[in-house]
Subunit: 211 residues, 4 copies
DNA sequence: CATGAATGAGTCTTCATTCAT
DNA sequence: AATGAATGAAGACTCATTCAT
């Protein structure tokens, strides 16, 4: 039973560029880790899903832990890329804020596994290191401080732009979490609108650009 | 070498009322589960800490899972009891709101293991059942809706008392979570004040009772 | 199919004193390690042979390595006990020497697995530590130096009692080794006689007590 | 980026005569096997050291086992060649004996990996076949019997030339082994002198040619 | 021919749960 | 009832060997 010439079926041993293999493994790992959690995930499951042998996984990632952390990094990377992409070319700060909030929530709506991964990272690696998400957030903080200042935050006392960044960043992330944990909650899209309204109140604005 | 009748020296096999034993085991389980997580917790550790044999644990709780869930239930019970205790006898709704918020955060400040347990519950038992915390919250929802109405929420449109309960409840729980996950965050006491200020903005109030 | 009342068959879970269990495991481990070597030995094999679960092995020995080393120590212990037992109460040094040599070789003749274990220890733990055999020998060296002096060694120059101990000790151990490695060799009993004759030549003695 | 025609830079895929390749691989294999042992040796390590791909190894040697055995054969070959070379042209049997003993020990002094390989061969291939060393010895036995007869061994009874060959051959090999296993032993050069003195005693000779 | 990416069988160790005492 | 010795299923990781390029 030689493999068909069309390369359609499962070629037992396909050779691919390292980068592609790595990406395929990460793509397979995210949903598996999300579903079973870090501990309960058998690396074999990821291998099966990625269509490779277990050994190949270990060729790219030294340990199961390294694989998990790489999965997290990849996820966070994709999140911030997506938010950035949605607001490039927009000048009005208020519009940028609204779009950012919406695309942030939209990302998690399309990637329900993301929150799961954050939970599992916390559950298993509490003492190991700063969660990937927050480590990455630090590097982008100034961007949001500037936006908040442009919005006029701080002109009326509390909260200053810095305080608002931390407060809103945390409220948003918290909302994502709660939505994942709690039953019967509004959709994340509605959560986004709540956040925008909350921000509008702080800014004493009434006009909110429609979604 | 029969044990002395006075029960003085190490009573290898002491007999105690079942309820007390159960409570001792739960008290031992909470910090151990919080520190190591559900999976990584060896039941032997809990047995050691509770000062009983491993078999005794299984006499009271059918499985490790049942033990964990009982630990969660016990925790949530203690949380709501504490919040209630702080506000009995107070009539002014605004004061009740502020005190509730503060005592809620205070509980988690004094019980850092609580959030850990919530995280681990989510990580391990996602599909098993509604998290104990939210199941319990449901039973207390009306109480907060009434308080919010008394505060005048909804008179100016969004948010209605119901919306405010869900929004604030979730924001608060989210804040607890984020504080546990993220590095270098304000203390939970400060988080409480932020929440109160946020609520004040929604209510267009300026006076906030001091902590 | 309940276990027979006569306790003859395999009682799935028998409880035994720790010391007995330990001894049973060691007794099972020696021939298995000897046959397959350290690496190729599956701990399960030892468990099966000892009639216990794999977990029980790990209850007594932290790692496979610890189990192997304990097996070695037990072996060397038995060797020196046996040699000592054969010569207690004998006063004539020349007779003690001959009996010691014979019982030394006899031990290895009755325990062919012993040499195997020495080989495997060397093969796997070269850099780990001094081989158990030689570490143990050091503690008994003076005893043999005294015997050699009593025999009059050194009176005619080379070898001194000390040199003779090291030389003969090594020659004997070497002979055991070679016999295990090489095909078609004289029996160990004959090797013993060769050693005695060699010693006799050094001492310029002719009478050799019969075996 | 085609490889330069001058073969100067790292020739990823050099073509060499098969015999040379084979020799290079064997030369690389000996120290690696000696250091890590047969089991613990990763074929990749040998490939790296030989500067070839892992596949190339398998082109010359069907299995890891075959490679190891070929390494042993190569080693033993070099040993006997060296001993022979030292004594060609010498007529006096006693001098030949002394020189042979010395060059035998000298070989192992310059090739500490040799004993390691013998140990590992024994550890892993006990039941597989006669150790390469002894198989090879058989083919050279007569040579030593003749030498011993020329020395006059057997004229005084024990040992006959045949017995002496086996006895001394084994004692020498045993000494090499023991020196490798035991800590704090005299150098192999000193071992050689001990052997010569022992032989002198058997022959009732006193003059020993200086080293 | 030469390479090294890919494979997956093989093993030590842990720990929830059982049960003899 | 209380204990903790005993069990064995489960899973990460290695490495000899193969084979696509």
């Amino acid at each position: 039973m030689p493999p068909s010439a069309t390369e359609g079926a499962s070629p037992r041993r396909s050779r691919k560029p390292a980068e592609q293999r790595r990406a395929e493994i990460l793509a397979a790992a995210a949903p598996v880790f999300a579903e079973h959690g870090y501990r309960a995930t058998d690396v074999q499951l990821i291998a099966d899903r990625a269509g490779v042998g277990k050994g190949t996984i270990y060729r790219f990632f030294a340990t199961k832990e390294a694989l998990f952390l790489a999965t997290m990094a990849d996820l966070v990377e994709r999140l911030s890329n997506e938010v950035d992409a949605r607001t490039t070319g927009i000048d009005d700060p208020w519009e940028v804020a609204c779009l950012s909030i919406r695309s942030y929530f939209a990302f998690f709506e399309r990637h329900p596994e993301a929150v799961e991964l954050f939970v599992h990272e916390r559950a298993e690696f509490r003492d190991r290191c700063t969660p990937v998400y927050f480590a990455h957030s630090e590097t982008r903080r100034q961007r949001w401080v500037d936006l908040n200042r442009a919005l006029g935050l701080g002109d009326q006392g509390w909260p200053t732009p810095e305080q608002a960044v931390d407060l809103f960043g945390d409220l948003m992330f918290g909302a994502i979490f709660v939505n994942a944990l709690a039953p019967r909650r509004p959709s994340l899209a509605e959560r986004a609108e709540e956040m925008i309204r909350l921000l509008a109140r702080l800014l004493r604005r009434d006009n909110v650009p429609t979604a």
